[in-house]
């Protein structure tokens, strides 16, 4: 615009005056117009002019031939320019703090953990508004879990663009000038202030609640489980996507200034949420230990372990030392907690002192408690290739079974002992079958072995109870040669009936009070009993009733009809006493 001057000094002076005018024009402490408009939201030419003005002032400041007075004016002008640039910087940042789309985040997340619950196991959480988001994350998770093999460390980090490139360029050009004018700290301050709240709000949208250690102690385990699950999902997104993207943004804006600056900005921005994130995991790692927590604690541990390489990368700066250290501490505490739970449980199983048999032969409380971690004895060869955890679990089941065996011997009635074993082993089998994690760890071979034991117990029970009952209905001994009544001894027959009735009544009365809690098992047992008892009785009746009917008081011997027996069997293993066997008219 101005005609070129001959001397540098005067040319410089003119340029300087223009620059100063521009800068003063945009001083928001004096000009209404300057307050209402933002330079970087307007005309690009204006932007360029302003930046050039700043550069010119700076250039003149570094020139040596400068008077004290001039210097004072310069520094005032620069201060005005910097204050303005600070506002512009803040404004650009504020214009680009739209919350990140969480479903796109989740879809980008490539990892899936072995222990984590299957997609179908998702439960309602207490943030109604977040349900949508959680659903999307879950769907995305399950859809991508097939496509991801095992991602290694930093390849699992996914940075996204938090701010569009043009804005980044503007921010860069402002930052450059602020820093060269010695206003680095203000720049970091502004950056940190705005980005902090942006990260905070993204963080909140992941469903994080600020829970204290006291809060977590007071929560029921069920509620905690849900929160742990949520944490696992959120932590992956946070570290691999949110935090790493913030880090990249810092690096972009403060490019070429030196890592100390972008490290400082980054830490300023994410330290709060990062600490909140880890505080939760820490609280879980120091909570009271009890068996049902084991798998979730392992899940948490494994997630954190998976994330460690990424944590090391994202938080590699010196100022992030405390975070890395905390993460490592939590990891080791979680491992300790899992080990502690396992061995405490082991001790409990081994030393469980109650000698009082469980009434009704039903499931021992310890079996039920160990329902989440159980299995039977095994050959050493079969233990090969199993993880230490699996072996430990198997060991626990061996101990459990040993203990159960011991307990069963306390039952005076040997049939009850067998029923007790049946109930408990069946429970274990059901639990293992019902948990994919357990099943995978313990293996189908063992499941078969267990099931075999179950069948064995069932057979033993039947033998113990029913052999002697059915013995009454055998043919041998009833036929006497050389008698007049077609070869059947009436007295023996009557004895047989009497004994059968007595035994049946006794078995019925006793075993109705026994309990098989599992519906299916109870049914199967009854069916199995019926299959042996009913046909035998029916054919016995069929063959010999005429002999009884031809004698005195047939009703004393043929007390029960087949139907009576069928309905009697329905009373078995219900767990409460019944009145006498119903007796209908004999047919």
């Amino acid at each position: 615009m101005e005609p070129p001057e001959n001397s540098n000094a005067s040319g410089g002076a003119v340029a300087f005056e223009d620059a100063q005018k521009i800068i003063l024009r945009w001083d928001s402490t004096v000009s209404e117009e300057a307050r209402e408009r933002m330079i970087f939201e307007g005309d690009r030419d204006e932007v360029d002019r302003y930046l050039k003005a700043v550069d010119d002032i700076q250039k003149s400041m570094s020139s040596t031939s400068i008077s004290d007075d001039q210097d004072k004016v310069n520094s005032t002008t620069i201060q005005i320019a910097m204050a303005r640039l600070e506002d512009e910087f803040r404004n650009i940042l504020l214009n680009h703090t739209t919350p990140v789309e969480l479903d796109s985040l989740a879809a980008a997340d490539p990892s899936s953990s072995v222990h984590s619950s299957a997609a179908g196991e998702y439960e309602e959480d207490d943030h109604a508004g977040d349900d949508d988001i959680q659903d999307q994350i879950q769907r995305a998770d399950s859809s991508t879990s097939n496509s991801s093999a095992s991602y290694r460390s930093t390849s699992s980090i996914r940075e996204i663009d938090l701010i569009p490139q043009e804005a980044v360029c503007d921010l860069q050009s402002i930052a450059k000038r602020m820093i060269s004018a010695g206003y680095l700290r203000e720049c970091i301050q502004v950056y940190g202030g705005v980005r902090k709240s942006a990260v905070d709000s993204n963080f909140k949208r992941l469903g994080f609640e600020k829970l204290s250690i006291g809060d977590i102690q007071r929560l029921e385990w069920d509620a905690l489980e849900t929160k742990i699950r949520r944490w696992i999902r959120a932590a992956k997104v946070c570290i691999r996507i949110l935090f790493s993207s913030e880090k990249r943004l810092c690096e972009q804006i403060f490019y070429g200034i030196g890592t100390a600056v972008d490290d400082a900005c980054f830490m300023e921005t994410v330290k709060g949420p990062a600490i909140q994130l880890f505080n939760f995991a820490e609280a879980i790692s120091i909570s009271r230990r009890s068996p049902e927590k084991m798998f979730k604690i392992l899940d948490l541990h494994d997630t954190l372990m998976d994330l460690m390489p990424d944590i090391e990368v994202v938080f590699e700066s010196k100022s992030a030392d405390s975070i890395r250290v905390q993460a490592a501490e939590i990891l080791s505490r979680l491992a300790e907690a899992a080990r502690g739970i396992l061995s405490e449980f082991e001790n409990a199983v081994l030393r469980e002192p109650s000698l009082v048999p469980v009434p009704g032969g039903t499931i021992h409380p310890l079996t039920r408690y160990s329902g989440d971690s159980t299995t039977p004895d095994m050959e050493f060869a079969e233990l090969e290739g199993k993880t230490p955890l699996a072996i430990h679990l198997i060991w626990i089941i061996v101990i459990l079974q040993f203990n159960l065996d011991g307990k069963s011997k306390h039952y005076k009635d040997v049939s009850l002992a067998h029923l007790f074993m049946m109930n408990n082993i069946h429970y274990i089998v059901q639990k293992v079958k019902g948990s994919p994690e357990l099943r995978e760890m313990i293996g189908d071979d063992y499941l078969r072995k267990l099931t075999g034991k179950l069948r064995q117990a069932a057979t033993s029970y039947q033998r113990a109870t029913w052999v002697r009952v059915l013995y009454c209905l055998r043919d041998e001994g009833l036929h006497v040669s050389g008698s007049f009544s077609s070869g059947v001894s009436k007295s023996v027959l009557r004895e047989r009936f009497k004994t059968f009735n007595a035994m049946l009544e006794e078995v019925h009365r006793t075993q109705a009070t026994w309990l098989v809690p599992d519906n299916q098992l109870r049914e199967e047992l009854r069916i199995s009993i019926s299959e042996k008892l009913i046909p035998a009785y029916r054919s016995f009746l069929g063959r010999y009733r005429s002999h009884i009917e031809s004698g005195k008081h047939p009703e004393n011997y043929m007390k029960y009809s087949v139907e009576d027996l069928e309905s009697a069997v329905l009373d078995f293993f219900e767990g409460y006493p019944v009145s006498q066997l119903l007796r209908r008219r004999c047919q």
Binding site: M38, A83, K210, S212, I213, G272, Q276
Partner: protein, 388 residues
């Protein structure tokens, strides 16, 4: 974990009775074990007393300073460690009533201290934020520069930010309005408003809105009473050690909350310790002195009683006043005044810079030791139960 065999104490019937006054110790059958046990307990009492006597001998200028706080935490860690050893050496006793209940109670109280440790960490972060603003002021009014209008404007901006940030939360909104008037800034643009308020409160606490440091302290001190004579006898004097540790925990946490900014600071915790305990006097005296400090006119609304916060506040307020009233060109007198204040501020800033990181590490250390001791203790309580 190896199954440990716990031996009962020999001659358990004829245990010596630890009384509160040394000359009353008598034993029916002084076994070597018994006197060693008593000596251990006594040594603990003595060391606690010694440490707190030392801490209470601090001058009023250094009370609640960063270095004093660090010394306090050091003492706590030592006491905690000695206590842990006592529990370990007496682990066979630990599961017997009433000691098991007392120990469980101690662990419950110490868990509450964990949340306070985390809150203090937040507070330390807050102080870091202030330090950053001070660094801007120091940069603007640096020694080597000529103090022109530009420098003062720059410093003023930071000083305003700092003043707002150091206000108690409740006072923020009122002060905001006042500040806008007094510094002549008509802030119409929304970005400015966001900046004014959002920036200062952008360091939100990592605890929920309903969490309260005061309540947490009260929970730690709840029903804390010196052990009765029969309890002392039944626990072979260990109840005294437990009470001692509980009291130390309460005091240390209370002092931290007094010094460092945190959500809902409140200093009304009841401290009543029987004077027979040799450490009671120094702790109670410290308590009194801190309370007195909190009642002083210019400290009543402080967000933390840390000495360095006070110094920071004084310096920056003085500088802000000077910046407000400054006329250009500066008189030599005025300039000297300003430079003096800047130097003072610089010194405080140095102290803060040096001490904050180590302090944070110490607080984490306290956290860890409490967790470790509790895990260890609960483990042995649990394990022993199974050996019955």
């Amino acid at each position: 974990m190896p199954a440990t065999d716990y031996q009962g104490l020999s001659a358990s019937i004829s245990r010596s009775i630890l009384s509160l006054r040394r000359d009353q110790i008598h034993s029916m059958e002084p076994t070597h074990e018994a006197s060693g046990h008593d000596l251990e307990l006594e040594a603990f009492q003595r060391q606690v007393a010694d440490r707190f006597l030392d801490l209470s001998s601090v001058g009023s200028d250094d009370l609640l300073s960063l270095s004093w706080i660090r010394k306090l935490l050091d003492s706590f860690l030592c006491c905690q460690e000695e206590f842990r050893v006592i529990l370990f050496n007496n682990r066979s006793q630990v599961y017997k009533a009433p000691l098991d209940r007392l120990i469980n109670d101690f662990f419950e109280r110490s868990v509450k201290a964990l949340d306070l440790c985390n809150a203090i960490r937040d507070g330390i972060e807050q102080i870091r934020e202030w330090k950053k603003l001070i660094e801007i002021v120091l940069c603007a009014l640096d020694n080597r520069r000529i103090l022109g209008e530009g420098q003062f404007r720059r410093a003023k901006k930071a000083l305003i930010d700092l003043a707002l940030s150091m206000l108690d939360e409740r006072e923020s909104t009122a002060a905001l309005a006042h500040r806008n008037r007094s510094f002549g800034r008509q802030n119409a643009a929304s970005s400015r408003d966001h900046r004014n308020f959002g920036h200062f409160r952008s360091l939100s606490w990592s605890v929920s809105r309903s969490w309260s440091a005061a309540r947490q302290l009260q929970a730690i001190g709840n029903n804390l009473a010196a052990p009765k004579a029969n309890e002392i006898v039944a626990t072979n004097g260990i109840a005294v050690a437990v009470y001692t540790m509980n009291s130390i925990l309460l005091f240390v946490m209370w002092a931290l909350v007094a010094a460092i900014p945190c959500q809902d600071r409140g200093l009304q915790v009841h401290f009543s310790i029987p004077r027979q305990f040799s450490w009671a006097v120094p702790i109670l005296s410290l308590h009194e002195r801190v309370l007195e400090e909190s009642r002083k006119r210019d400290r009543r609304n402080a967000c933390g009683l840390l000495r360095e916060i006070y110094q920071m506040d004084k310096c920056t307020k003085a500088l802000a006043e000077m910046a407000d009233s400054v006329q250009f060109p500066l008189t030599e007198e005025k300039e000297a005044e300003v430079r003096l204040r800047v130097q003072e501020l610089g010194k405080v800033c140095e102290v803060i810079k040096e001490a904050l990181d180590p302090l944070e590490r110490q607080v984490r250390d306290v956290f860890h030791r409490i967790v470790h001791s509790r895990t260890e203790g609960l483990d042995s309580l649990g394990r022993v139960n199974h050996n019955d």
